[in-house]
Symmetry: C2
Subunit: 383 residues, 2 copies
């Protein structure tokens, strides 16, 4: 995109329709959550610049979002239960519903027709028409619901904190068809789905270990893996349970943040057995592989959250360490991995680095930035 | 994208600028090569429709194309040596150079700044500024040049038919730095790079077997793999050497078309050793995994090119077979795999199928369609 508006003077064209002569393409755009302001900053990867700010999104602490297949619309899941549909071409909120009391994330079906939201209060999952935001299914669970992801074949998968169950909601027939898997473990607190959509893995708050489901199985069953994953000897306080979405595939291994310990773990992607550990600067929050899997970038929990370490996946050694600034909350790689964009909340900026030279390429002012979401996510499963 | 133009009466708005009130997003668009006409048909995935036709592209037999990171521009590599830059928002050719006498493919660097083209006549690779199409590097090879791909870190990799060498051209420093790897084998005819950009594999016309390079190695060396891959006993004529770009990753295995035989081969993705074979209807041309890796779709060489078979990657058995029509040339999956679009040249149509029910969802008239390229390719390595 060429026609952008400079952020040099923090001047924004707030909301409003696109200019008549404006020509847009959406492949290199992204949205940055400005959590305190309840706003989204629209950014342009190629220009290293902010394009516009979209406001009026409610409580965006811990907010996340997904994109429509055409990359025109973002569906934003606010902590306050708000589900907002944002048009990034016209740069405004086009629909907004308060669908629950305490929402913690959402997903979009592989065909882009359905948007699902999971809720703490009331528990359960609600599914909406992506076009109109009218509710098409209400799936009460009588439990806090966590770890909601989309899976291939118009499915959503999520877990029940109170009951230790995972439910697979299949919308391929038009109506919802639910499969319930029991015995997932005590208090699942988060989950991920592998990039191919085959394996769903839940983290447990109430016990050590993780539980996997093979979604290709005729009848998926709970498979306990990594029995030592967790707080273990409890010799360190846990400042923040790591995000499981941060699991990275690096070559033939997954890399994941340890719980409580200053380590990342390496896991064989086929057997799901541990293959090694790397000591890190602090308690890792996100361990994210560069898209080619050659390096893993790690950020850390408070109070060590000013630092990033970069680990070589061949040697499993830390090869670079630097301090972008206070409160590094999130990282997003450009789709082919030549740059990484980093939210540094208390510096009020998103910082852009070359992933090979580590040179700083740019900085974009943002109001307490947290999650960064590039539009390339539209074409990925489970993001 | 909502504002589309119907193809019902084969009425096209030919070329010309976009309408002033038009609002575009580019995530769900694609281009279909109309080989006889020298045109590109712009299609919209979500609408199952053609949007426009872009003409004036020269000889498009065996044409391919790549996209800019913002998905606005396509770089089209014509057989006649033409390199054309097409604006899919304004729907016209914006620049065109005749850069060689007989071009056979191209690639775009991971940062989107450089476009490379490989040539039979004269041999070698030429690299162009993606913005202006001015030549920034000319790499003569004194050989037909094949198997050109982009690799992470602003690199291009290609092979020399006459000399059995692979060259790695690294543009990360600004100027070009070339590493030559000898001993790749007799007459490499095509190559692929794995999705993570780590492994480059060439097929050999002059002998059986394949040759791999580990691009993560300090000093990449030729690694001979699959010694029995090739025509072997020569008990079948080879109607068409299979496209190596068709190698598919399905779970932990690669699937690839056998040469000459009515089979696809299964290869362990780590050891690159053969793990099985599946008998097929004809000589496979493309064996393409649905993006989740659960099924592989296969089309066949003349005279059996009216048929598609679908193979289950768990059982390695053919589970579905159907005849879309005469001369099935190419298949492209939607990025998350819910649909597949198929070029049926002699039916004059692109046909759209649900990948789970196999139901036909739509059909778009096209003039002798061949390659289908969705804009999601902008964010992938080696496509």
């Amino acid at each position: 995109m060429k026609r952008i508006f400079s952020l040099v003077t923090t001047l924004f064209l707030l909301g409003g329709a696109a200019q008549a002569d404006q020509i847009s393409s959406t492949g290199d755009l992204g949205l940055v959550v400005e959590r305190a302001k309840g706003a989204l900053l629209l950014v342009d990867q190629s220009e290293h610049a902010a394009v516009d700010r979209i406001e009026g999104l409610g409580d965006l602490s811990h907010a996340s979002l997904v994109y429509s297949p055409d990359q025109r619309f973002a569906y934003v899941f606010g902590r306050d239960g708000g589900l907002s549909k944002v048009d990034i071409i016209e740069r405004k909120v086009v629909k907004r519903v308060l669908q629950g009391g305490n929402s913690i994330g959402g997903a979009i079906s592989d065909d882009g027709k359905l948007v699902a939201v999971s809720n703490y209060e009331p528990g359960g999952v609600r599914v909406f028409d992506a076009d109109t935001l009218e509710m098409v299914a209400d799936i009460p669970t009588a439990s806090k619901t966590i770890g909601l992801v989309d899976a291939p074949g118009r499915k959503f998968v999520f877990s029940l904190w109170d009951d230790g169950e995972t439910w697979i909601a299949d919308f391929s027939s038009g109506k919802v068809d639910i499969t319930k898997v029991k015995g997932m473990g005590e208090n699942p607190y988060d989950a991920l789905i592998t990039e191919d959509g085959r394996t769903y893995i839940t983290g447990l708050f109430g016990e050590d270990g993780l539980t996997a489901l093979d979604l290709w199985a005729e009848k998926p069953e709970a498979i306990r893996v990594l029995p030592n994953y967790g707080r273990g000897l409890k010799d360190l306080p846990v400042y923040k349970m790591p995000h499981l979405e941060g699991w990275a595939k690096a070559g033939q291994e997954f890399v994941l943040p340890a719980v409580g310990h200053h380590q990342v773990l390496w896991i064989d992607s086929v057997t799901l057995k541990e293959t090694g550990r790397t000591d890190t600067y602090g308690q890792p929050v996100f361990a994210m592989a560069r898209p080619d899997g050659r390096y893993v970038w790690v950020n850390f929990a408070h109070p060590l959250n000013d630092t990033i370490q970069v680990i070589d996946t061949l040697t499993k050694q830390v090869v670079h360490e630097f301090k972008p600034g206070p409160a590094v909350l999130h990282m997003e790689f450009t789709p082919r991995g030549h740059e990484v964009w980093i939210s540094v909340r208390d510096a009020g900026a998103v910082m852009i680095y070359d992933t090979r030279t580590f040179e700083k390429l740019g900085e974009i002012q943002a109001d307490k930035p947290s999650g960064i979401f590039f539009t390339a996510r539209a074409h990925k499963t489970g993001l």
